[in-house]
Assembly symmetry: D2
Homo-oligomer: 233 residues x 4
Amino acid sequence: METPKYKIALIVGVGEGLSASLARLFSREGIRVALAARQIEKLGALCTETGARAFACNATDADEVERLFGLVERELGTPDLVVYNASGRARGPLVDLVPADVANAIAVSAFGGFLVAQQAAKRMLPNKHGAILFTGASASVKGYAQSSSFAMGKFALRGLAQSMARELSPQGIHVAHFVIDGGIRSKTRPDPEGHPDSMLDPDAIALSYWNVLQQPRSAWSWEVELRPWVEKF
Amino acid sequence: METPKYKIALIVGVGEGLSASLARLFSREGIRVALAARQIEKLGALCTETGARAFACNATDADEVERLFGLVERELGTPDLVVYNASGRARGPLVDLVPADVANAIAVSAFGGFLVAQQAAKRMLPNKHGAILFTGASASVKGYAQSSSFAMGKFALRGLAQSMARELSPQGIHVAHFVIDGGIRSKTRPDPEGHPDSMLDPDAIALSYWNVLQQPRSAWSWEVELRPWVEKF
Amino acid sequence: METPKYKIALIVGVGEGLSASLARLFSREGIRVALAARQIEKLGALCTETGARAFACNATDADEVERLFGLVERELGTPDLVVYNASGRARGPLVDLVPADVANAIAVSAFGGFLVAQQAAKRMLPNKHGAILFTGASASVKGYAQSSSFAMGKFALRGLAQSMARELSPQGIHVAHFVIDGGIRSKTRPDPEGHPDSMLDPDAIALSYWNVLQQPRSAWSWEVELRPWVEKF
Amino acid sequence: METPKYKIALIVGVGEGLSASLARLFSREGIRVALAARQIEKLGALCTETGARAFACNATDADEVERLFGLVERELGTPDLVVYNASGRARGPLVDLVPADVANAIAVSAFGGFLVAQQAAKRMLPNKHGAILFTGASASVKGYAQSSSFAMGKFALRGLAQSMARELSPQGIHVAHFVIDGGIRSKTRPDPEGHPDSMLDPDAIALSYWNVLQQPRSAWSWEVELRPWVEKF
């Protein structure tokens, strides 16, 4: 196995699905993996399978995020590959939303992304090396009806990613934002009967993250859209 | 004077500049105007000139915003034209930003917009009549280096506006977002010598807000870009 | 009546609908109007009503377009307001399209726009005064299935308009592109029963063109989107 | 070597640079390669190196394009991977452009893309298998001053690609558009002294084309942006 370009990965916002696929892929490629989530009890099997370490962290709390990076550094090393994968939303018509829920949705989808990205950048900039990836959604580029809190958080995260790409790329940090335009397939939410591959396979998404990470710096992507072949857009 | 299409305006986030131009224009057109700002001492002259009423309000606080709408209703009537004009930012390289400042910037630029728009929509929907306008910036559509907090707030506000336009337009509420792409001229920040009209005249911006408000519902704009004739874009 | 900002208008691509509404509005505002279309027999009533002069011209032919401007200059004066309103399309699945039809669709929607805009700009630049407006469609910003020729022409026209806005605005020429996102109402194609104002009223569209023309140069729009209040987008 | 997903590639618009990098990469991966260009004398060395076959073709001529596909089919087999790489432009201020040059620029950048894509799609649809890739530029999404003909052609090509992605993806054809946002490095145009990787390495671009081709159909990209790490955008 070649020496991987990145050595220590931190994935923030982990459940089943995309983060698990990323953990497996990174681990298979020889990268040590740290997983952070608010609840880590559910991560036992994934840790066993991939050798990853799990850390409990509320990503919307600046102190907890700083502590998280300290712990990861001590136990695995300084992360040079960070993925922000958490998001929140409050559902329903605009007039029915509870303000505190909206505030929390924005905090989880966007402010947590800032906190994590800032800690990551502080550690990557001295080496002029690292990658910071953000997971977006259809709502990152299109504000749907009855989805205002999700649009706010995801638009904000995209604004952060674009600003960071402009600021940090010339300093050697690869910043990329992925617009996942469709539902992600899972055991509990499989493709509908007769419509194969009509939902995004998380392993297929992970493959595109990986390919972006392998891009030589003369031809970097800052944004990649992914959707199933049959998805309306 | 014709009866104006809208009768009671509330402008949130008022200093000199655009909000004052809007207050003058609305007042001239026969609309009663309420102004809301965190500090209202500075608004005395504008109130005298336009007959507007000023209300102190921290737009990032749900209770204060609800109370604001109650006061405006009691003293002027239910607003059927609401403009959200506040914004905040923390300046500097990503790694130097203070998390609390970033949280505050997002709250002022975007969450306050949600709080105000929600209260506005609650009052407009029963009548299927009203307009909610948002003031954006270059940073609403382009995340600049060293401007991540401003990009986050302004992207989020645009996501809110787009989601609201999709949700509320078919219910008779005109939602529009303005991308002000350039600096706004003021007494303390005039056009540079030899470059006439190289900054946006706030009265000229206000005119475009007004024209959008006059659009018949068969041909509504949800977004309008404005920039000086000589602005690079 | 105030002296209008623009004095001689040329509208290229005229049938019923938007061009007729523009001709009536311009005429009412004291602007002399020239109409150009491939077939001008049908324009008699509109000319009578508005005092406009009609000129036959194939807008995809460079020589004819140059001749058109010469005739308009001689008979009405040099146009300082030019609207390009023609478009063409070949319908059907990609594989069924006849290449010559696609070439023609691109020529009518986009190349004709270039020819007209170039002649207009040549006459406006010496005076550093004038406006050139382009009529776009949903297809200007979204390439729909089975609509490739229309997408090609309308995307191209938008690229032209954006490039011209960057090039000519600082020389005093106002260039603007309108995204008409919905069907335009006409006598033969009225609003469906029970869905008032669900199609764009051409007079309502014309009003927004007019308002853009009145913008002071410190706050110009280069692009405006218009759609019915109930339109999905 | 694994059996490649695609077996016969046709690259249209070949000189040095990206097309040569693609030819080398495809050939190395076991794909048979056909090259088409207006002039093929210069392609001798590349053919020798990669085993590719070269075909002379004016891509703006419908008959020549149809004949090209017939020849490729007979000599190599039916192409299931087609790349359109040709572009044209007329440089200079809008008013100085020669109409015939602009028409030709649009024909080479966009209409040729349609002709090639249509022939490709006709052959791929019966098998519900194939990929059609388009090479865009900064001008595909931004119309620069003094670059109207290039903007027209590249915007149009993007409109075609987006329309085709919506139409053909659900029929199993992967359509993708690449926005190459920066200069491509070559022997005659190397990175400026002291600015390593400030131009796009054509091999790096080719790698991203390849990775898009490997995407499973549950997570396809229709558009990918690529730029050097230090590129302003």
